[in-house]
Symmetry: C2
Subunit: 229 residues, 2 copies
């Protein structure tokens, strides 16, 4: 049944599946996680599930309240205010290093990803745009060639993924995001690390602002983005 080459352990598998469930809002923010029911639905015992929850806890995706159980994390306005500046700083540095280290074939690959961004933006396909956008940022981070920088950004991104690219839903934001990406590509072509750093930094800050506006408008429409208690 399990025809895998790489040695895998159950709790890792569970971590992966739970992460996806959380990102998909299959498990909703604030929701209580019923260990027993979940273990049963996965067809496993509670032990590896609990091990997985400990991992997700240190990733920030769930909160463990002693003797109370496990709850899916809720992202707050304060989280956003605090994370985005850090992300902007780190991804800015990624862009800087990436431009310095990028070889022609690397830029070619970025161009390919970017062209897909252009395509999906033109088609107004937010989901695919979000996907390619994620791939683009990951590619830049990888080019920077600093594993710890990558890990640090990645850890923050894991938490931010709770948003599922909500900012792109703001009218006009997708187009603005695309323009920013064009500027980043230009910095790669001109081999201008400092420019790339600043643009990437501002790109992240712009995302935070778009989110703030989007959430405000949502609130005015009376639809809170998360389930209130």
């Amino acid at each position: 049944m399990n025809s895998r080459i790489a040695p895998t352990v159950l709790y890792q598998e569970v971590v992966e599946r739970l992460r996806q469930r959380i990102y998909n809002y299959d498990l909703k923010p604030g929701e209580w996680i019923d260990e027993q029911a979940l273990a049963e639905s996965f067809g496993i015992s509670r032990t590896p599930l609990r091990e997985a929850l400990k991992v997700l806890n240190s990733e920030g995706l769930v909160v463990l309240k002693p003797r109370r159980g496990c709850f899916v994390s809720e992202i707050t306005e304060q989280d956003l205010d605090e994370i985005f500046p850090v992300m902007a700083l780190l991804e800015g540095r990624c862009a800087y290093d990436a431009v310095r280290k990028a070889k022609p074939k690397d830029i070619k690959r970025l161009n390919e990803i970017h062209s897909r961004l252009e395509k999906y933006a033109a088609a107004g396909d937010i989901d695919r745009f979000y996907e390619q956008n994620y791939i683009f940022h990951e590619a830049v981070q990888k080019l920077a060639g600093n594993l710890w920088l990558q890990k640090t950004v990645g850890d923050l991104r894991k938490f931010l993924k709770l948003l599922r690219g909500r900012q792109l839903k703001l009218p006009g934001r997708l187009e603005a995001s695309l323009k920013e990406h064009r500027l980043i590509m230009a910095a790669f072509h001109n081999q201008n690390p400092s420019a790339a750093e600043k643009i990437m930094h501002d790109h992240l800050i712009a995302q935070r602002m778009a989110l703030a506006i989007y959430d405000t408008e949502e609130k005015q429409r009376g639809k809170s983005s998360f389930s209130g208690t």
Copy 2:
């Protein structure tokens, strides 16, 4: 027997104790962790111990090899080359924000910590200097008032603590470190955030360089800093 106020769970307690054992080189880098023996020595069962190991794994302090067991992490030159620039970036930002937000009483508190640094430096007490240095940096991070920035720096620091302030052992480094701290304090007094950012950044980079020199000299003396395989 257990007279604790704050609600604590066993695996958290174990995480704490193991962390200390690792920082103290009681458990040495690369060393295999015998679950059974360790559980016995703690007087607990394997389950909470294994949960604790999962947490330490996501902190990077131990490495879990499927079906092989758990090993204490070894910090490499590459790790240092990659982490310090990130730390420099983040702590630089901390300093920037801290100077902007610091109130007179905050600066007074920093001054108190700094004066202890002066004292221990004069006495050549490396251990106490290391301790106060850690407290100083933590205080600056706290002043920045960004919990996620704090957490991000803290996560990296957890791993770096494997070094136990090795860089301070380099002759002259303690004095240089003190001078850098004096400049930071000056930036606080002059309310110059950008200066603080740059000094703190360079302060971290200087630490990396001191480490590199120290390790090179160690190697020449034929004493590898870590146990070879």
